[in-house]
Amino acid sequence: MGQCLRHQMHWEDLEEYQALTFLTRNEILCIHDTFLKLCPPGKYYKEATLTTDQVSSLPALRVNPFRDRICKVFSHNDMFSFEDVLGMASVFSEQACPSLKIEYAFRIYDFNENGFIDEEDLQRIVFRLLNSDDVSEDLLADLTSHVLNESDLDNDNMLSFSEFEHAMAKSPDFMNSFRIHFWGF
């Protein structure tokens, strides 16, 4: 637990963050508290940064199989400023619009960052989801081919962003599962 300068957030800053993100007042203040607890002592919160490991160890992300991808997508130079954390929380908040969530989900699932979700990415996603040591190659290949059958519309063995968007718009569980409520301890 770091001992930061206990700056109360200015009212104007709070208003600005409320206008620029989907977070409510209470959520922003909660994230502010968490950030203050984690940041190194003696620094103003707007200048302090957290490492990827610190953010990965938050309860919200601790058990997530995609936490390294989430941290990669939302951080800059592998460091999180306060506004980066807010941006991340805004995408995962309940009030966020579907297009924003789909956009970031695509970026998170694109492991090799080539702008497409190809077979290699899909296999890595399935591997992370199953989290088991005895996953056979057949199972991975089967599942990958099923996903591509359903959503690869132009048969190029990859999902472009519009194909992914189309698949997620039809998916009933996406909005419910792509949500993180609580960022505190």
């Binding site: 620029l20 199953l130 599942l143 190029d156 609580f182």
Partner: protein
């Protein structure tokens, strides 16, 4: 040749030499090499989608720097965005906060160049949106049990959370139903009774009914044992029978206020129709989201792989054990789906001999299922008749326990039947050789039907007893007025007993089965038997059926007992806390998890079945069985429904003829035919759309093949050119 291929690159793009190394090419099923990805990223279609997404693609992602504002690409981006200010709010852009701040400043400086009117318009729309946002925030605080449900979601996943959200929905529904009944029926009566307003009751004596029909003996025996109060409380007889809990209390024909007379019978009937209509509309509204998604779906199975893999992980899980459970349930689910695929293929490959054998076996087993159902219904019928006949004996001639047993006999038999039949159904379905997913659904449907039909059987048994008399009494009043002088109150009492018994059973099972089981497992885990048995699993289908059963009782009973929805609200609140404690302290989550989307649709479907099954006995009793002449607001009418025609006949004649016209056959038949035509039109339209979608998909894959062919040709040409340049 070389110039033409060089100018093939579109002007204005940063030129990049794409040296295609042979090992980057891979061959896909169409036989064309699929181009390397960085080539595809330069295509105009990719770029325009990226521009629409307003992401700032950077080639130097490794260094992690954003493009500088001076970059021509991003300033084009900003120009595009500021033009669209009216359509999107700034939060929806996929940029980080400092970028959004910069955009907002640009927009605000732009606003200075607008006219006064436009400025005022934008300012007012922004403040209106802010007001709406704040109001929405306020209302989320009012949401009942928000923190509890959130924590359950975090610990147990969205499947179980959907059960508790469903329970919350039922609490709200019952509360609103009670408010409707209160406003329409209870409020005038209570205002008059306690002299709050200066109103009086209007009692119209009935003209042409036999005096015998109006006798209503209030049972008051001389010597009252102390336990009779307990029996009265548990069964609604005695001192509870005359209170406003039951129909019989409302023997009032109207309430006379200063300047108008409030027609209580009409209000009573309208409150019933209103709460049924409201329930139907609210359930349909809630299930519309699930329906919309199902309708867009073109796949056969209910759950697609895309959904399970991309939306498979609940991001709100916070603890390690729940995460492990989620992993194992995903493993189970995905393997089960692949297994189901295989079984489906196997079924498709069955020989005709096997098919005949399977179908005849299924027919036989379905007959057994029907026989089991018939046996249960018959048992309930006999128990109800036995209970009704013996209830008429003197209370003080019986022992306390025996008395309660007789009173609660139908409830006990229903509960036993609902406990045994799921086990029988689960055994039977193994032999029917369906695919696993279909097995589960069919078992659940059979249990649902069993549970809800038992209530109907009970009500119909009562109805048959009420309208059947030995030789002469039925022609007198239309119902058996010797045994049932006020039959609506008696039906209300049965519903009340069912509800109280249901609550007692749920509390008893939780206290005396779940908690000891958990204690045994924790402290005596060395015994093999206890280990096998294990902790309780939170079985969602059974719990949901339990609460839908309670809600169906409430819907049927609210007509006969106006305070029943209030009791149902309290009951569901108690059940919420009991189930929450049971979940947190005694249950382990089951390895086979329900998905939230699947669950919501299933819950509302079951609730809708319950509502439809509840409407049937209500309509029959309102329209067919003569209302009792000794009590209740409908003493001056033949049946309950007769209030409506009598009220319509008091309307002005033009309105009357309109109403008669709308309800006549001359209107109904053409209306029905037009509705059918409209439905056929929409079905044809949907079919045409599906065909177009299939054609477009084919076209899309053909276009993609063309694109890859052209790219391959282009790269070959570039290679040739490079070789030739090198060779020179």
């Amino acid at each position: 040749m070389s110039e033409s291929s060089a100018s093939a690159l579109p002007p204005g793009r940063r030129s990049r030499q794409t040296f295609i190394h042979p090992e980057n090419l891979s061959v896909d099923s169409s036989g064309f090499s699929s181009p390397p990805v960085n080539f595809l990223q330069e295509l105009p279609s990719y770029r325009s989608i990226a521009r629409r997404r307003t992401t700032i693609l950077s080639r130097d992602k490794q260094s992690g720097t954003l493009l500088k504002p001076t970059d021509s690409y991003s300033s084009q981006l900003e120009g595009g965005i500021t033009e669209n200010f009216n359509s999107q709010s700034i939060r929806k852009y996929a940029l980080n906060i400092s970028e959004k701040r910069r955009l907002r400043n640009i927009q605000e400086t732009q606003m200075k160049y607008l006219s006064e009117w436009d400025q005022w318009k934008r300012y007012s729309s922004k403040s209106w949106k802010r007001f709406i946002g704040k109001a929405r925030e306020m209302t989320t605080h009012l949401e009942l049990w928000r923190e509890d449900i959130r924590s359950i979601e975090g610990k147990f996943g969205t499947g179980i959370q959907s059960y508790f959200s469903f329970l919350r929905f039922l609490v709200l529904l019952n509360l609103v139903i009670f408010l409707i009944i209160f406003m329409l029926v209870l409020l005038p009566v209570l205002l008059t009774k306690y002299n709050i307003t200066n109103s009086t009751f209007v009692l119209i004596p009935s003209e042409d009914t036999d005096v015998q029909c109006t006798i209503y003996p209030i049972s008051s025996s001389g010597l009252i044992y102390f336990y009779s109060y307990v029996i009265d409380l548990l069964s609604g007889t005695g001192f509870l029978e005359e209170t406003c809990l039951f129909y019989g209390h409302y023997t009032i024909d109207g309430v006379k206020f200063h300047n108008f007379t409030y027609d209580l019978p009409l209000a009573y009937l309208l409150s019933t129709i209103a709460y049924l209509a409201l329930s139907l509309l609210w359930i349909v509204k809630r299930s519309v989201e699930g329906f919309k998604i199902n309708l867009i779906r073109s796949e056969e199975h209910f759950q697609s792989y895309c959904n399970k893999i991309f939306a498979g992980w609940d991001f709100c899980i916070t603890n390690r054990s729940m995460a492990d459970l989620k992993h194992s349930s995903l493993r189970y689910e995905l393997r089960a789906d692949l297994e189901e695929e295989r079984i489906r293929q196997k079924i498709a490959e069955r020989t005709s001999e096997e098919t005949i054998r399977i179908y005849s076996l299924r027919l036989f087993l379905n007959c057994i299922v029907l026989a089991v159902l018939a046996a249960c219904f018959y048992a309930i019928y006999r128990a109800t008749i036995f209970s009704q006949e013996h209830m008429k004996k003197e209370i003080d001639k019986m022992v306390f326990g025996e008395n309660l047993l007789i009173l609660y006999l139908p409830s006990i038999v229903i509960t036993l039947a609902n406990f045994i039949t799921p086990m029988i159904f689960a055994k039977i379905i193994h032999y029917e050789d369906y695919s696993p997913g279909f097995e589960i659904r069919l078992t659940i449907l059979r249990c649902v039907f069993m549970r809800l039909a038992t209530i109907c059987v009970l009500v119909f048994t009562l109805g048959s007893k009420i309208t059947s008399c030995d030789n002469y009494s039925c022609e007198l009043c239309g119902y058996n007025q010797k045994l049932y002088p006020c039959w609506e109150t008696q039906v209300g009492q049965e519903m009340y007993k069912l509800m109280i018994f249901d609550l007692i059973i749920i509390l008893a099972v939780t206290l005396f089965v779940d908690f000891p089981r958990k204690l045994l497992v924790t402290y005596c885990s060395s015994w093999k038997l206890i280990q096998c048995w294990g902790q309780q699993e939170f079985a969602i289908p059974d719990n949901v059926l339990g609460i839908v059963y309670g809600q169906t009782i409430c819907w049927i009973g609210a007509f006969f007992s106006p305070l029943l929805p209030a009791i149902a609200t309290l009951k569901f609140i108690i059940i919420f806390y009991v189930k929450e404690m049971s979940l947190l302290y005694t249950c382990r989550p089951s390895p086979r998890q329900f998905r939230a989307s699947n669950s919501n649709f299933f819950f509302l479907l079951v609730l809708l079945i319950g509502l439809c099954l509840a409407i049937i006995p209500l309509t029959i009793s309102m329209a067919r069985i003569p209302s009792s002449k000794a009590c209740g607001p409908f003493t001056n009418f033949n049946t309950t429904w007769e209030v409506v025609p009598k009220t319509v006949s008091t309307f002005p004649s033009s309105l009357q003829s309109l109403v008669y016209g709308v309800t006549s056959e001359a209107f109904a038949v053409p209306f029905f035919m037009i509705i059918c035509l409209i439905m056929f039109y929409f079905i044809a339209l949907a079919g045409a759309h599906k065909r177009v979608v299939v054609q477009l998909r084919e076209q899309l894959s053909l276009e993609s093949r063309d694109k890859r062919y052209l790219i391959q040709k282009l790269t070959e040409a570039q290679k040739d050119m490079k070789n030739r340049l090198d060779g020179q």
